[in-house]
């Protein structure tokens, strides 16, 4: 039944710069099914394909092969802005998720329009809308509701990221995508954004796909952890295994992968010495 599958990825494959020396096989057959309300954390090195996976869901990347389905609907070919009706995103760079010269209120007014293809000619910030926005902003507990007319570009990275999270979830998305969204923040802001994330995901029961470098976050958040390597899912911890999962264990697995890589390189070196 389609309802039991909030997100379904079928055999996603994608290669960048195919046929050149810069060829990168970013996705090499990724499959994933997420039930509504599931929270999946994707871990991996740089270049493991985890960002490509997220981009394929967001619509930034149209995969060469495979399908992306949201509640049974095939959205693989939908352009990014159309996909936004279903998908909320928070980026790694806190500058990317907000429009700097627009005020806090204006940024959030845009978020209330999510999913409407053509915005209308009514006033963007009617009084009731402004009040609703102020109420939402005050829930962040950062005092920003008193600065609604401040250009968002003058806020700190942590404040902007918290607002981006609000923008992504103001109209409840079918899927929430978090792309290493605390990696660029100082530890205190990162913790603040992370606990806000936990709170909003729990409150709205959002189906969430999060990419991270942080093993501590992978252990703390979510009900399932995928480890990606070279465009494939190589480990999948769920249920009781996820709950028992510890950062040390993840680290061991990571080191295994790293050793495999080193082995590959030394093997390649040996072959080169022998044959070239």
């Amino acid at each position: 039944m389609a309802e039991s599958r909030a997100l379904e990825l079928v055999d996603l494959r994608h290669t960048f710069n195919e046929g050149t020396v810069h060829e990168v096989r970013a996705l090499r057959g990724v499959n994933l099914v997420m039930e509504p309300g599931a929270f999946v954390v994707v871990l991996g090195f740089n270049g493991s394909g985890k960002s490509s996976l997220l981009n394929a869901v967001a619509g930034t990347l149209i995969p060469a092969h495979g399908e992306v389905k949201v509640y049974g609907e095939d959205v693989t070919q939908w352009p990014e802005h159309r996909r936004a009706a279903l998908v909320g995103r928070v980026f790694q760079d806190p500058l990317r998720g907000t429009a700097p010269r627009l005020t806090i209120a204006e940024n959030l007014a845009l978020a209330t329009q999510r999913g409407r293809r053509w915005p209308d000619l009514r006033r963007a910030l009617s009084r009731p809308k402004r009040e609703a926005i102020a109420a939402q902003v005050s829930e962040l507990g950062m005092g920003l509701e008193d600065r609604l007319d401040t250009p968002i570009g003058s806020l700190s990275g942590g404040q902007r990221q918290a607002l981006t999270l609000l923008i992504a979830t103001l109209v409840s998305p079918r899927i929430l995508l978090l792309d290493e969204h605390t990696a660029a923040l100082d530890p205190k802001s990162a913790e603040m954004v992370l606990s806000l994330t936990e709170e909003v995901v729990r409150k709205l029961r959002l189906t969430t796909l999060m990419v991270t470098h942080s093993m501590a976050q992978a252990v703390r958040l979510g009900d399932r952890v995928l480890m990606m390597h070279r465009g494939k899912v190589v480990r999948d911890y769920r249920g009781p295994r996820k709950r028992r999962l510890r950062a040390e264990e993840l680290l061991d697995h990571f080191n295994e992968l790293r050793n495999e890589d080193l082995l590959d390189e030394s093997a390649a070196g040996m072959l080169e010495r022998v044959y070239v």
Binding site: R89, G97, T98
Partner: protein, 314 residues
């Protein structure tokens, strides 16, 4: 006094040109070069319609639509066919050059016998029983036509400016501003940024076309020369406007561009009175824009505050 009223009138009508450049360069953040062509086609279309007996309002609105269409073509060339935005603007402007010559049948279009804005404004002035010999302001005489034209230009420029300001406060206007401000964010909240880009160029060049229409009527003729140098003029006015409205809200910045344009025309009037050859004006404008673009960087690199303790020559 005629010179002052003239400078104010010219400032008002050219403020639509400057606002078109403002929308493209500052709001959309793109280097749209269509302005020259849109201004020229606006002038020619309005003149051609007036010469066929149309009223100035219809002629000006159609001219604005022609400018908007030019912007749409540039926008579509860029978003659909992936033509570089600079090249797209140049292609459209070049193509419009032929269209203008075709509409003008090779020569200039004189507007002296038509219902162009100055004449219509003057006849309304007369019909209202106002002094036909003009008015004495600050000790000098201003002709009825000049004053009536200036008064008519206040709504002619003011209404589009007002509508632009209102538009930017609507959901659609906000989506357009977000597209220029942060495309990634705009896409992520579901805005079709390509459509907004085209819409923005339509609005920008529509205003430029309208400005060209008013310019031709004010000058009482249209010719192919009107297709040159407007972009740089508009940019100069935008820069003055930025300086006037530094740090203000969008509405303040829009007003700043209008005031910047009027200031620009006053400077031009002053320069001409001081004996500067009118032929040199475009050169001076270009040098002014260049100076404003370059000098702040030079000043910054020369007088950059050094970190404490760092050697003066490191």
């Amino acid at each position: 006094m005629n010179l002052l009223v003239g400078a104010l009138s010219m400032g008002l009508l050219l403020s639509l040109l400057a606002l078109g450049v403002f929308v493209a360069f500052r709001i959309l953040g793109t280097y749209d070069l269509t302005a020259d062509g849109a201004f020229g086609v606006g002038a020619v279309v309005a003149a051609a319609l007036l010469a066929r007996g149309f009223d100035p309002t219809t002629a000006s609105i159609v001219a604005g639509l022609a400018g908007g269409a030019a912007g749409a073509v540039t926008g579509l060339l860029h978003t659909r066919l992936k033509v570089d935005i600079l090249l797209a603007g140049i292609l459209v402007t070049t193509a419009l050059y032929s269209l203008d010559l075709f509409l003008m049948k090779g020569g200039d279009i004189p507007l002296s016998g038509t219902r162009a804005l100055p004449r219509t404004a003057e006849s309304i002035w007369m019909a209202a029983g106002l002094p036909s010999e003009g008015v004495v302001l600050f000790g000098t005489k201003v002709s009825a036509r000049n004053l009536a034209t200036f008064i008519a230009l206040i709504p002619a420029a003011g209404v589009p400016v007002f509508l632009l300001d209102r538009f930017f406060r609507t959901s659609l206007g906000l989506a357009l501003r977000a597209t220029g401000d942060n495309r990634t964010m705009a896409r992520a909240v579901g805005i079709d940024v390509d459509a907004m880009f085209v819409l923005g160029l339509v609005a920008a060049n529509g205003m430029v076309g309208l400005s060209g229409a008013l310019f031709a009527q004010y000058q009482s003729f249209a010719n192919i020369q009107m297709s040159f140098g407007n972009l740089v003029t508009g940019l100069g006015c935008v820069i003055l406007g930025d300086a006037i409205a530094r740090g203000r809200s969008l509405g303040g910045r829009i007003l700043g561009v209008v005031l910047g344009t009027i200031l620009f025309r006053l400077l031009v009037a002053g320069a001409i009175t001081a004996g500067v050859a009118p032929n040199a004006l475009k050169l001076l404008t270009a040098l002014f824009v260049l100076a404003v673009l370059v000098i702040p960087d030079i000043v910054r690199s020369r007088f950059r505050p050094r970190p404490a303790g760092a050697p003066a020559h490191g």
